[in-house]
Amino acid sequence: MNTLLEVSGVSVTFDGFRAINNLSIQVAQPELRAVIGPNGAGKTTFMDIVTGKTKPDTGRVLFGDKGVSLLGMSEADIANAGIGRKFQKPTVFEDQTVRQNLAMALKNPRGPFAVLFHRKTTEGAARIEELAEEIGLTDQLTRISGELSHGQKQWLEIGMLLAQDPRLLLVDEPAAGMTAEEREKTTDILKRAAETRAVVVVEHDMEFVRRLDCKVTVLHEGSVLAEGSLDHVTSNPTVIDVYLGRSDA
């Protein structure tokens, strides 16, 4: 296990509000990691920083074996470097088919002219079949993705991330709004994905986190409060105080 993502000493301020405060997190490859924390703990901002949406005021964000700094890279460059991100709300291209959605995400040259003269290949088609199989949407490939159920859209989005073949997957609340059955399937997809790559899951739902059965990082007020197995962190009195205590109440 070697470190894939290293976030160290990162701070960011919005209009005087410190959203991230001297945050340091390491993620290895392969690894499945859950990030939990109360509202406003900085979970989404953490993802924004890693994916280049938000520029931190201070700190370092290094990625990969060579430790390339992600700061100053555009979102697209970061994505191409091997970081995939799933948004909180399912964001798929609703008036295109599932196949088109997946095809767009396939790891291929991303330049406009390469795309313009791109022709479908059998390998590509096979890869799409494979991904559809993985996320359980084989029957839905020709459907317009806007017609999919909420859970299916979530899976499709995860499938699109996998299609990019990223080394690090950032997944924001994948289980929100899912039925118990769907959650189970989601857990399976994520766990399988984490066998070869790093997967960071931000989640509210303790049950879901427990099912992931992985190392947990607790964020609070923009920095790491505790880290370890779920049982370890949930027994931490500070964590109970700031997070679990309140959610129980």
Binding site: F14, D15, F17, A19
Partner: protein, 653 residues
């Protein structure tokens, strides 16, 4: 006519002693006139002064009136006895007034002859009159006299003017007389030292007149002389270098005019000469078909010149050599270099001051423009900031406000009152229109901002055409109250019209009002809450629907008031909205969305920028606007969210 005469009578009653010569009692004006009857009846410009001197020397109080009447061709001669009368013709009759007693009578016109001094003589009379008028007890008459001197300054007026300065009771007029005396002595004083002193005293005077006086002294004529080591003679203003200061064509033309060179043969003249000398299809041995190049034409012409048919051709080299051999310069008409140097120094020092004053003036102009943009844009900024909606019909709301003002003036003729009524009514009308638009259209298009833009554009073209159908295409006036006419004049350079000041004050009032509404009222609190986080605001029990409606109404209402303000100084037409809408967008975009201060900053920046660019290139407002728009496009590159940008999650999308 009666008034001045009355004044004259009064004046001479008081002022006569000052002029009273010894034998005033025995003399009547008529006797003096008879003594100089030749000059009076048939005056000549050169000789009339003897008669005038005699009249002035008499010190009679009636002299001024006589001079005035004479100048105005109001003096008639009775041919029987050669007596002079004031008279006015009325059909075939004359109303006679006795020159000394003022007794009136009516007689037939026959036997009387009107004295008609020519223009030159009348000017001499006027000059003589000025010295009386300068000391007239009536302020208005003295002012008129001073004005007439200022209009047509002459050397002879300097003496009387200086003489009248000490006795001048009115402080302002005295200052004006001193100023004018300075102008006159700068130009006409006999002693160069006096002139230089006067010129130096002008160096703090930024008025246009003072600059005109100095420029008059510095008047220089272009001239040319053969180049010598000593340089040209005379009081030289500057040497002109052909090629940079004047074109070589002009330089050569000057040489020709001065007789130093032979006229160049222009291509047109060359052609003319050739065309008129075609012999058997050839000119100077060159076939006409070959005359389609300048070289061949010159060849043909030279051949003609060798035969002596046409003047010799001047080659470019010859012209250059001629220009080289001469020196081009401007020479002052004023011969004394000390005086021109002093005038130049004074002018430079004035120009420094004028530049400073212009900066102030420009700042005032820019401020007033900024306040117009602020008024036009603030409503837009509010709706854009709170609702993320671009209202393309905003300009038409401005127009609606202006037409409301116009309609109210049709019913309420008192301009002050009608404007006072128009402001709230315009607000109400456009508030209503805004609310109706929000309810009927915009409410259904939230989250589709581009479509809102287009739908409101549809409303905009419909409203514009509707206004055209109702009010016609020609501009309608929105008249400002009389007390807003005119301008606040600080100096010749700094002045600003009262309407612009009023608009500035209005913009300040609105700034205060909007800040108050937003920061100190419940509505403002709710509006700010919806701006920052609509979802959260809704969950706190704020009805976003109502807030949106109110905000839209408010924004539109302000546009209506802005319309009244803009209508006061610009024309009210159905297209006036389009003139402001793009600028308003710019203001909002540059300033940053959802913030009153941002709009203020944006309006100020655009106002100052526009005036600044216009100052660099005053002749071309179109170019100024082009550059401004380009600047804004570049500005957006560096601050895509405007000057005052919201940060954090609220700005994220």
């Amino acid at each position: 006519m009666l008034r001045p005469i009355l004044f004259l009578v009064l004046f001479f009653g008081l002022a006569a002693p000052a002029y009273a010569p010894v034998h005033a009692q025995e003399l009547t004006l008529q006797t003096i006139l008879q003594e100089n009857s030749d000059e009076i009846t048939k005056p000549k410009r050169r000789t009339v002064s003897t008669a005038l001197d005699a009249l002035v020397a008499s010190g009679l109080p009636q002299v001024t009136q006589f001079l005035e009447q004479w100048q105005d061709k109001g003096v008639w001669l009775r041919e029987d006895d050669g007596l002079y009368f004031y008279a006015s013709a009325d059909g075939g009759d004359l109303t006679l007034t006795d020159i000394d007693t003022g007794a009136e009578s009516t007689v037939p016109k026959d036997g009387f002859k009107q004295l008609k001094p020519n223009g030159g003589v009348r000017r001499v009379i006027a000059t003589a009159l000025v010295q009386f008028q300068l000391s007239d007890p009536d302020l208005a008459r003295r002012e008129t006299a001073v004005q007439s001197i200022a209009r047509r300054p002459e050397a002879s007026q300097l003496g009387p003017l200086l003489a009248s300065v000490d006795g001048e009771p009115d402080a302002a007029l005295k200052a004006r007389k001193i100023q004018l005396a300075n102008f006159l002595s700068a130009s006409f004083a006999e002693d160069p030292a006096d002139r230089i002193a006067a010129i130096e005293s002008l160096s703090t005077d930024t008025s246009i007149e003072a600059r005109a006086v100095l420029n008059q002294i510095l008047n220089a004529k272009p001239d040319v002389a053969p180049r010598t080591d000593a340089g040209p003679e005379g009081n030289i203003a500057r040497e002109l270098k052909p090629g940079s200061d004047l074109s070589s064509e002009d330089a050569y033309a000057q040489l020709v005019e001065a007789g130093f060179a032979q006229a160049a043969i222009t291509p047109a003249a060359l052609r003319e000469a050739i065309v008129s000398n075609v012999v058997e299809g050839k000119v100077g041995g060159v076939p006409t078909a070959q005359l389609n190049s300048q070289d061949n034409r010159v060849k043909a012409y030279t051949a003609l010149a060798e035969d002596g048919i046409v003047p010799p051709f001047v080659t470019a080299e010859e012209r250059e050599a001629a220009i080289e051999a001469h020196v081009f310069f401007e020479e002052y008409s004023e011969k004394d270099p000390a005086i021109t140097t002093a005038a130049l120094d004074a002018l430079n020092s004035i120009e420094t001051r004028v530049a400073a004053a212009q900066t102030v003036d420009l700042t005032l102009d820019a401020l007033s423009l900024a306040s117009i943009y602020f008024l036009a844009a603030i409503g837009l900024a509010i709706t854009f900031g709170v609702m993320g909606v671009i209202n393309m019909a905003h300009g038409e709301f401005i127009m609606m406000g202006a037409y409301t003002g116009y309609v109210i003036q049709l019913f309420v003729p008192d301009y002050t009152l009608s404007i006072l009524i128009a402001l709230p009514v315009a607000f109400a009308v456009t508030f209503g229109a805004g609310v109706a638009m929000e309810r009927l259209v915009i409410r259904h298009l939230y989250h589709r901002p581009l479509e809102t833009l287009l739908a409101t554009f549809g409303i905009s073209i419909a409203l514009q055409q509707l206004a055209k159908n109702i009010f016609g295409t020609q501009a309608r006036p929105l008249t400002s109250p009389a007390w807003l006419d005119g301008a606040w004049v600080v100096s010749d350079v700094i002045q600003i019209s009262y309407i612009r000041i009023a608009i500035f004050v209005m913009a300040l009032m609105f700034l205060a009002l909007i800040l108050f509404v937003l920061k100190r009222t419940r509505l403002g609190l709710e509006v700010r809450a919806v701006t920052q986080n609509p979802g959260m605001a809704a969950s706190m029990g704020i009805n976003p629907d109502r807030i949106n409606m109110m905000t839209f109404g408010l924004g539109s209402g302000i546009a209506g008031i802005a319309g009244v303000a803009i209508g006061l100084y610009a024309k009210v037409t159905s297209e006036m909205g389009t003139d402001y809408i793009v600028q308003s967008f710019m203001t909002v975009v540059v300033g940053g969305v959802g913030n009153v201060w941002g709009t203020l900053a944006g309006a100020s920046m655009i106002g100052f920028l526009q005036k600044g660019i216009e100052w660099f290139n005053p002749s071309n407002t179109l170019a100024a606007q082009t550059y401004m728009v380009l600047f804004i496009i570049l500005f957006i590159q560096f601050r895509p969210k405007g000057i005052v940008a919201l940060k954090g999650r609220a700005a994220a999308d």
